[in-house]
Symmetry: C2
Subunit: 357 residues, 2 copies
Amino acid sequence: MFSSPLSKELNITYPIIQAPMAGGITTPELVAAVSNAGGLGSIASGYMSPESLRESIRQTKQLTDKPFQVNLFVPGEDEVELSREELEEADKLLHPFYNELEIDIQELPTNFTEPYDELVDVVIDESIPVVSFTFGIPSEEVIQRLKQAGAFVIGTATTVNEAIHLEKAGMDAVVAQGSEAGGHRGTFSTDFEQAMVGSIALIPQVVDNISIPVIAAGGIMDARGVLAAEVLGASAVQMGTAFLTCEESGTNPIHQKTILESFEDSTVVTNVFSGKPARGIHNYFIEQMNDYEHLIPPYPAQNALTSTLRKEAGKQQNIRFMSLWSGQGARLSKKTTAANLIKEVVQAYEQLIAKKF
Amino acid sequence: MFSSPLSKELNITYPIIQAPMAGGITTPELVAAVSNAGGLGSIASGYMSPESLRESIRQTKQLTDKPFQVNLFVPGEDEVELSREELEEADKLLHPFYNELEIDIQELPTNFTEPYDELVDVVIDESIPVVSFTFGIPSEEVIQRLKQAGAFVIGTATTVNEAIHLEKAGMDAVVAQGSEAGGHRGTFSTDFEQAMVGSIALIPQVVDNISIPVIAAGGIMDARGVLAAEVLGASAVQMGTAFLTCEESGTNPIHQKTILESFEDSTVVTNVFSGKPARGIHNYFIEQMNDYEHLIPPYPAQNALTSTLRKEAGKQQNIRFMSLWSGQGARLSKKTTAANLIKEVVQAYEQLIAKKF
């Protein structure tokens, strides 16, 4: 497997980063398994309380003495003011689905703020060596505090301009998220549709325009994707969907099964679950909500409104209402362990090189 | 440069195919220059009359004795019946723009059928060695006639299933068109949005599921893209945007200039120009027509309706109304010659291999 200066800086054997995936996916078992296998495990702190992040970090430390990273959502700069009427209207769109799931009508959530500052404190307090950010550029103060604490900081870009801004802000590396990626789009500074750039185009253009290392994300599922990312100029890869179906992940079993049975064209990008565009497997809820796109409030409001629906659907293993995040490489997904996945990728990579692809 | 069994079958030195780009781009000079440089030039017969296709082929033969291909649009199976009222309504959407371009209101076009059968006859008559298809699967009869004439036949797929169907129909190779590609989406059997699959995910999944060679298309602009496509399993690449800015191409100079100044996130996929989704640089016409998507008739009707507008805008070098087709690799575009482009890609490829990427 190729090694890069970035691998050395991150203190990892293989340039394979397990993508931070919020919502209970990145269990201490998954994160530790990835790091123990020579990659970089990642805890996604999105939707976590400071207490549960600390607990998750401590459990992970029990399972590995290798480095792992924590990812933080950068809160939106302009908190969108929503009236109670707007929220009620958006909430009402969900009521027809409550029947099918036998859920009572919920109280309207009132507080959408996330404990970002406290999560940053936890990360510094726990001396996390690698900290990545999604949805924007952290403040100078946060970056300085993390760097003083010795952390390597990584931003997420979906365009060249976003990557340039992240470099200027002091990031040590940038994840270039191609349009193939599952889950939330990291786009923070432009129209998200124009920023749906495929990896084979995005990676070299980002590499040409910044001088810090680029981590390729989106559609990378096996050694072919890793080698392709390398030849396009990436210093490491970040794989999400490939780890979603690993045994150690906290992914709902029916979500795993659905990915394992899905195809390259099973997904769409939708904002109906969270208010932010994200790639997931097309299902009934997406289809039904499609016509109401203009009524859907932005993240984090919509995320809070659909929270009960998604949780209950998950409990009932009802894929019609679950957010089945997946990238476009679903046909290449396997039910395996994180250690096996990394071992197989490394071995297949060596074989590709040996037989000259 | 890597060579593959496909290169041998196509009788070319380098596995680089110049994408067929309709609308006057693929001049005999461009096609011959590509073939003379060791790649495979392509005449796009879309929008051509049988006479002009024959003329174009004969001129190309004057300029090269190397093989080149002709691409054919497969006509839609279900000709959509449009009422005069529907056409008038769609045409009226364009009238506000006629003022700016100082065009008189045009007569409504009445005949949208394309001379597909006659184009096939020309291709057979002129003993074209490689014939590719876009927008569907040609009939068994057409495939048989071409094969009896000794032609190598290539289909275009945007999903694994489309590739499987093309292989079953008897195609000798398949172009896998990634979402990065400029111009028209080749999607013919599914929802085009779900079929917007990035190359890094699409190529390996297509390769795994068919046994004929796969030609990677979409976002490939330089040696890095070529090598990435190779490691993902492709037997050749098809490059479009990279050839659009070559001196021999028939691309409008202002279209070339716009691509040369554009970025990875300058494009959108829109049906407003032709009635079929296609990727081009975002401009005023796309923006203005965005709200009327539901009123836009399918190809070829919308293509006929906007024909005068596009032609006149081109003459006036008014990029606000031109279909500025481009892929997502625009930052990597260069003003050069086709021979130089191929030479540079081959040299840079050898350097990538020599220094182990």
